[in-house]
Amino acid sequence: MASPAQGAVGSPAVGQGAAAESTTPTRRGTELWLLGFAAALVTGALMLVEANQEQTLTFRIVWYGLAFLALFGVAHVAVRRFAPYADPLILPCVAVLNGLGLVIIYRIDLALSERAIQAGREFNNDVPKQILWTTVALALLLAVLILIKDHRTLTKYSYTFGLAGLVLLALPAVLPGFIAPTINGAKIWLRVGPFSIQPGEFSKVLLLVFFAAFLVSKRDLFMAAGRRVLGIDLPRARDLGPVLFAWAMSLGVLVFQKDLGTSLLFYGTILVMLYVATERGVWVGIGVTLFVGGAFVAYKLFTHVQQRVANWFDPLATYNDIGGGYQIAQALFGLGTGGVGGTGLGAGRPDLVPLANTDFIVAAIGEELGFIGLAALLLIYAVLALRGMRSALAVRDTFGKLLGGGLSFLLIMQVFVVVGGVTKLIPMTGITAPFLSYGGSSLLANYILVALLLRISDAARRPQSGSRPRPVPQAPIAEAHTVMVERPS
């Protein structure tokens, strides 16, 4: 859209001391145009909902659209100021996803409040809270960009992050029921005053930072050869530590919190980071073997796991069972009714699906925007994650690579687990769709994730000379007296 020249003109003198010789375009102009496009899309979606639901259109919608643009405009200015070379696609992708999420949550509010009126119940709209969370999340994005000028500084606090992540993760399971209630069968919430938070959402990012730093510092250790069996290099038994730790942690989440989704998310992401760090596929093999074993044991031990699998095989067969396939069947009915083109925003019945604005929000989109809308949504996620991955490839330090790769994979893994669950590709495990679903914790955590990706992409594209901060020495490689035998690759 914007020519590079325009981007360059737009490239700020305010950028932190951009070197005069730099000809690398910042592409901030592109980002602004795309944000405008995103705001137009979201406003259009809101118009459709209004037209279909209320049968009237008011000028007010334009103001909502402008307010949305203004909100992301602030984020855009912050990126211009604090991460001028950041990838121009990341923020607009997030804006579209978040905006569409708000529209759908509003749309489901309308349906649910009408039902509540008919049943004479009280109903609290979710969308004002979600707008508040969005504002807070954007403020958090700002804070991360301001506080973390260079992602490599994170390595200094990696153990702190790791510890904090673990504590947050374990907190709901350990705390008593009145402060950590069991909701929908999972014990993953903390109740603080009027708010419910899911600390696990934050520990995802914290633990990921820790693992990236940890794996980078111990990288050579894991690359050391162990025994060679049948042409496969097995790692040394003592190096199995991290993968076993991840495995145990995931199982812990599964057992104590009954949260299949988060468990799967952790495990998959850590496994992928291990693979990237060591460049050895054998880790994936070992990890998958452990996963299959763990999954099998979990299936044998826990009835809720068996139920999920039964619902996955045939949700219609367990339709009338308690905890049966009703939810998934409703989601499939919605997706089927939507078909290729969808019913149109505001013209479907997504409120028939339980949890329509959180775990099953994708079903609502599939029903009202159809296959076309759902495919577009998946492609936006793909673009977002692949831009992150591109930045990881381009960034020069290994920590940045590992962190960027891990964050990007975490994003797509969430999408895979939730969309796959809703569309019966894999068993439903109940996690939120990033940026779309209602829920503050998930939104805040994912904005932190995006802030880090912006930071890494900024580092990746920033011209090397001048402004480049002096590399922070990496955490010293373990002073182990082990003899390193690095296999020539």
């Binding site: 639901q53 209320e54 049968q55 349906a111 009408e114 008919q118 049943a119 004479g120 992928v272 693979y275 990237v276 760090a277 460049e279 219609l316 339709y319 069947a329 499939l332 009915f333 919605g334 997706l335 089927g336 009714t337 939507g338 078909g339 290729v340 479907g348 019945r349 028939l352 599939g366 159809g370 296959f371 759902l374 495919a375 998946l378 492609l379 996620y381 793909a382 994650a385 692949l386 991955m389 591109r390 990881a392 490839l393 290994t398 690579k401 590992l402 790769g405 990007s408 994979f409 797509i412 893994m413 999408v415 895979f416 969309v419 796959g420 569309t423 019966k424 590709l425």
Partner: protein, 497 residues
Amino acid sequence: MNTPLRRVGLAMLGMVILLLANVTYIQIFKADDYRKNINNKRIALEEYSRERGKILVRSGDNPEILATVQATNDRLRYLRQYTNGPLYAPVTGFYSTRYGAGGLEKAEDEILNGSDDRLFVRRLSDLITGRDPRGGNVELTINPAAQTAAYQAMESNGFKGAVVALNPKTGEILTMVSTPSYDPNPLSAHDGDAQEQAWNGYNKDNPAKPMLNRAIAESYPPGSTFKLVVAAAALEDGRTKDDPVTSTDRIAVGGSELRNYNRGFCDNNRDSVSMTTALALSCNTAFAQLAHDLGDEKFLEQAEKFGIGEDNLTVPMPVVQSCVGPKPDECMSLSDSNAIYQSAIGQRDVRLTPLQNAEIVATIANGGERMRPQLVKSILAPDLSKISDFDTDSLGDAMSRSSAEQLRDMMVESEAKTGGAGKRGDLVIASKTGTAETGNDPKNTPPFAWYVAFAPANDPKVAVAVVVESKDVAATGGKLSAAVGRATINAALAGGS
């Protein structure tokens, strides 16, 4: 590190492609299965929010709307509304999101909701022009004046029962009244609680059962009106209206006796009376003996020719079976050799719907040819162009024209002996009354009072059957039902139909 990162990137792309492929499968290839699944409420909800067609009648040339829709601002978009709800409820039925539909709303649902194949072309044009599909309209054969007169006659007296009037020449149903009635409006409220409250008020909390359509969904012992069937069988057997029949005061039936209503001899005559006199005075012994002399076979055959025993009649609402015998599988048989005596006078196991009894007199009025009773006059497209028109449908001859004319003359004599209000000097009515005993203790249980008639006798334009579940043990058909029947006839004839 870049090689594994690239591979992970490819894996991520693979995951998205896997999701896309699965969504393609679900939303394109399996979409129809899921859309049409019985548990998917979306289609039903969509039909509820479609602009449902109207139900209308014509008085003269002016259409009168019985059921229509009003646009609303909620998600169902249209509210079903009934003008004169209780008056027409047995015809229109109800339309509820929670309790389904009844009456014509159910029987003609596909027309009214627009899914009928006959509306296909119009649906297609709606699709192209982008307007929401609408339902077709149903015009009824009901004569509003006669319907109103019958309903008011029943309601003003607090009668529980039914009135059915037919056009004997065409089978058009001119009146279908069932009292006490109900207002279908609250059942189609968009407020679920209001629906529930109304539903309970009409059903489990209400012993009067206002939602029971007594005209077609309930059957009653026909009492003396059934003597018309015996008389028809006798005339068809070669007897004439002046042939003598017994006037005895009692017939031994098994261990008990069958006696006349006045407990004496018929017409105080110890020898015999003519069949005409026996019918006019409604002598039980005469018709019990006559039926016995004819035999079970001829008796049942005549009943069948009038349509008794038919189990799949729809008008288009389904009509319950009328029977001579005790059970559905013995509907057209007599349980023992003595059963015919009591069956001949419409007792024992004989049960007729008011519609069936109206059909019998309509057949006599029409010279013995039975016409299919129908409620739907025509079906109109949303733009009021005609899709299908009324078609008379003969169900064959139940008796010869000469037998029918003799029976008509007998009924004219009967009317002369019948009291009650509404008689007019300028109108000759042919009628028969009946007082059917009911319950295990018939002498102390209020009877069902019947009046079946047609008029004018020489050129019948309306046939009517009235049944009143009386509250008075001493009630007879003449006192209660005749006035209602005559009011209906007078209103129907005044309307010029």
